[in-house]
Structures are given as C-alpha cells and as structure tokens.
Symmetry: C2
C-alpha cells in the first residue's frame, strides 16, 4: 500500500475509534435514550472513507497542528456529514434503503428515530467545537463554529440539498447544477479545509489558496461521484447506483455526458493542485487527495 493510502486508512481508523469514544461518552449520560444513541451509532460507525476528517487533519498538519489537536474539529465535520446522510436517506428525501452496505437508519430503526438521531448529531457537533479540548482559545473555537455553519447551513449543504430536490421537477442548466453541487457537497469539503486552516492559524493568503483548493477538490469529488453513479455497481459502492437517473436527479453527467464530465474532472484536479502553489512539498498529501477524489472507485 502506498503512503497516501496508508495515511487515509489510518485517518479512517482513528476517526472510527474517536467517533465511537465520543458517542460512548455521550451515552454515559443516562438521560440519553439508548435507542437514540444506538441510531446515532448506526448512522456514524461502521465504515465510511472519512474524507472530511482527513481534509481537516491534513490541512491542520500543514501548519504543524497534530492529529490529536485537530481531532475534535474533524469529528464535528464528520458528525455533520453523517447527520446529513441520515436525513437525506429518509423516504421524504432520497428514500434510500442502503448505505455503506447496511440498512439506512430509518430502515434499521424508524423514521422518527432517524430524524431525531440526525438532529442530535448536528446539535452535538457544535458541542465538540465548543469544548476546551477542541482548542484552548475560545476565539478559535468560535471561528470553527462559524465555518461549520457556513458549510452546512442554508447557504451550504442544507441549501444544496433543497436545490437538489427542487431539481427533480425543474430542469437546471449546467451552471445551476454546478452551483447546487457546490453547496450540497462542496460547502462541507470547503469547511473541512478551512477549519484545518483556522486551527493552524493560517494567514489570509494561505486561507485563500486553501479555499480555492477546497472548492476545486469539492467539484472533483462530486464529478467523480456522478460518474461513479453511472459506471459502478451497487456491490462496489455499498449503496444503490443508477439512482440519479431513476430519481430524475440532474448531474453534470446527465447534462454533458460521461466523457465530457471525465475531461472536466481532469481539469478540475489540475486546478486544485495549482491552487496549492504557495505551499511546498508539505502539501503533497493534499495534492494527492485531489487526485484520489478523481480516481476513486467507490
């Protein structure tokens, strides 16, 4: 296994462990209903590539921040990502039965429990950032809260999901699809990188370069996702494929075709790498991450 793959796997393992610890700590308060906790665990544990925690950790690492010190921020982003999957999978939204090869939360439990488990994960993500263990400086913690809201709120992830659902009944043009995707998946990827930068005390110039990197990496991620939905199988992906067409979801692939999307993907990865020009070899892992986003098979 090459070094990049090792780093990625190691982050996935430590994130899994830290999420499990975090939820166990939450559950040690006996007011937390066991069924709610179990649903939160079902929706967060048991796999996932943990790409967002990886981006937080690798970006913070650029500035010499240890994995231990970026761990709370990384967990908060992953908790928000997992809550969004739980809610997006609901019958009223994308209506998915399968996620990471297992029943989705509302299938394993029920809809009410899934809604509440998502609500609780979102709420407690902010507690992770407010805790002193996240960062000794309250000002930095507040900065992280702001980035997470920007990435996950009405002008970010939640707004993007709304536009995506609206797109099932209205035809979007190429630009509108790009804007929707920049919000739906791009904004939280952007937040992950920026939270790493905030933890590292990045300068304005560094923050700008990293933001450009993150935006291009996010576009690459989504392009690859849309291409995979057309080309991969359910067995490889661990979730239903071909769903975009089935749900009349509009993607760049549905608008410009797989070949043109693949070309755009290559250019977008180059853009992400160019954005990192102000950084030396210490940013090589981020560069590889952009390439990985494009080349992943699941």
């Amino acid at each position: 296994m090459d070094e990049f793959a090792t780093r990625l796997r190691s982050c996935a393992e430590s994130t899994e462990y830290a999420l499990a610890q975090w939820l166990a700590e939450l559950g040690s308060d006996n007011r937390v209903p066991p069924r709610l906790l179990a649903a939160m665990q079902h929706g967060t544990l048991g796999g996932g590539k943990r790409l967002r925690p990886f981006l937080v950790g690798e970006t913070a690492d650029l500035f010499g921040v240890s994995r231990e010190k970026s761990s709370s921020a990384a967990l908060a982003v992953e908790a928000v990502h997992c809550y969004s999957l739980i809610h997006d999978d609901l019958p009223a939204m994308d209506d998915d039965d399968l996620r990471r090869g297992r029943p989705t939360v509302h299938k394993a439990y029920d809809e009410a429990t899934a809604i509440l488990a998502g609500d609780a994960l979102l709420t407690h993500a902010f507690a992770l950032l407010a805790d002193e263990r996240c960062h000794p400086d309250a000002g930095v913690r507040i900065g992280l809260v702001r980035e997470l809201v920007l990435g996950s709120g009405a002008a970010g992830m939640v707004g993007g999901q709304m536009r995506d659902i609206e797109g099932e009944t209205t035809r979007l043009d190429e630009d509108e699809i790009s804007r929707m995707q920049a919000m739906k998946t791009g904004a939280l990827i952007r937040a992950s990188v920026r939270m790493g930068a905030v933890l590292g005390g990045a300068s304005q110039t560094e923050l700008l370069a990293l933001t450009r990197f993150a935006e291009a990496a996010g576009r690459a991620f989504q392009l690859a996702d849309d291409i995979l939905d057309v080309t991969a199988t359910t067995a490889v992906l661990g979730k239903a494929t071909g769903k975009d067409a089935g749900q009349n979801k509009q993607t760049l692939v549905s608008r410009i075709g797989v070949a043109a999307a693949a070309e755009q993907l290559t250019r977008t990865v180059e853009e992400a790498i160019e954005a990192l020009a102000p950084f030396g070899p210490e940013a090589d892992t981020l560069r590889q991450t952009a390439r990985f986003f494009a080349a992943r098979e699941s």
Copy 2:
C-alpha cells in the same frame, strides 16, 4: 393590561421583528433557496408567545443586561424551539396538521422541505451565538453554545422527544413521565434561563438558584400544557387538542388525573418562586412568569 402582560407582549413583538430581520438577512445571501427560506419563515414567524426569549431577556435583565444585548441568545433559543416544532409535527413524529392556527410546515410545503427548514434553523441558531453581535467575549459565546446544546441535544429536548415517542408503546410510570418531560420541554426552558444568567455573568450561587427556578417553571409549564390538552378547545389553542389521549401519549394527567395534576401545578409554582429567594423585587417578573405558566389559557 397589567405590566406583566405588557412586558410579555412587547417581548413577543420584538422577537417576531428580530426573527424576521434575521431571516431576511440570511435570505439576502442569494445562495439560500427561496423555498427553504420561506419554509423557515413559515415555521418561525406569525405568532407564538415567545416564552423562551422572554426568559432569556428577563433573566439577563436581572443582571442589568439590556434587551438589545440579550437579543441574539434569545433568538437562538427561539430558532431551536421552532425547528423542534417543525420536526415534531412531521407525519413520522406527532403528525400534526395545525400549529398556531395555521398549516404546519410540511402541510404548507412538503416533508422534505420541513426536514431541511428545521435542520437549517438549528444550524443557524449556532451562528447567532457565534457572532460578535451576540457578546463581545468569545468565552461567553462559547458558554452560550454549551448551554444551548445541553438544552436541545440528546440529554435534553431531542432525547425527551425520543422518550415521548417510545412512551407511545411502553407504559411509563409517574417518575419516568416526569423525567421525559423534564427533557422534552424542561431542558430548553432551563437553557433559556441559564443563557440569560451566562450573559449576565451570574455567580455560581445565582446560577444555581436560577436553575432551580427554571426547572420548577419548566415542570409547571408542562403540567399546564397537559391539563390544557384535556380542557381547552382547538379554537383557543390554535392546535389540535385531545391529541395526547388520541396518540396514546403519556402525561401526568393521564396517570394521576386533572385534579391531582392541578394540585401539583400549584406546588410547583411555589417551588419556582421559592428558588428565587436570593433575589429581591428585581426578580418579580420571573416570579410572575412562573404564575403565568400555570394560569395561561392557551
């Protein structure tokens, strides 16, 4: 109209205005989908007694904090309360069609939009607390985030809603019902008072007294609510009544009867007032609030 009623109405009016301003500001970001914004507005504006913002403002006022300076915290609590109503009204939860005399958000829009509007309100509530306009000291803002999570998370409001739903199929004893209600409605009322105290820089003794007050006031509020569900009419309440029995919801009224519940209500109000013994006449409005919780007719 007596002075208390004037204060309460004035708070309701300024909260309505501030919520409208806040959402308009959010919506001025053209990335926010208009449908999402409209659903957030539908779920927050147009009435409501705004008791939680009132508690934040009156508690902060004890310490000489102006309404203007407690406004962001008050709005954050109300945004969380409104998100919880939107999600609780969903078909998978309490399945209510009517709220404040108007269609619930999933009736006026659709389920997906209601889920997302709730998610967005919860997310942006934390942005209100993270903003410098909330309080100049980042440490205080972090303290407010913590209180809001405690009140609304898995060991608070969301956990209480989970227990309430579980209670539809399992018989709870009187203590279990009290614990469930302390989480479902009590925790956010407690958070409202404590957030006012945090803004005011309350001492540990003061915080403890106010917490005892808030816990008793919360119990009184819920007892009155359960009694009203049995005795009031839909026209007065603006939402369906008699629903508790219809949904097999367990309340103290269903366990001990209206008369015993009313007696307990009187004792609980006294408890709330006693808890405020360390404070002088400056806490009279809080004392009247506890009485109002018991005497309200809707």
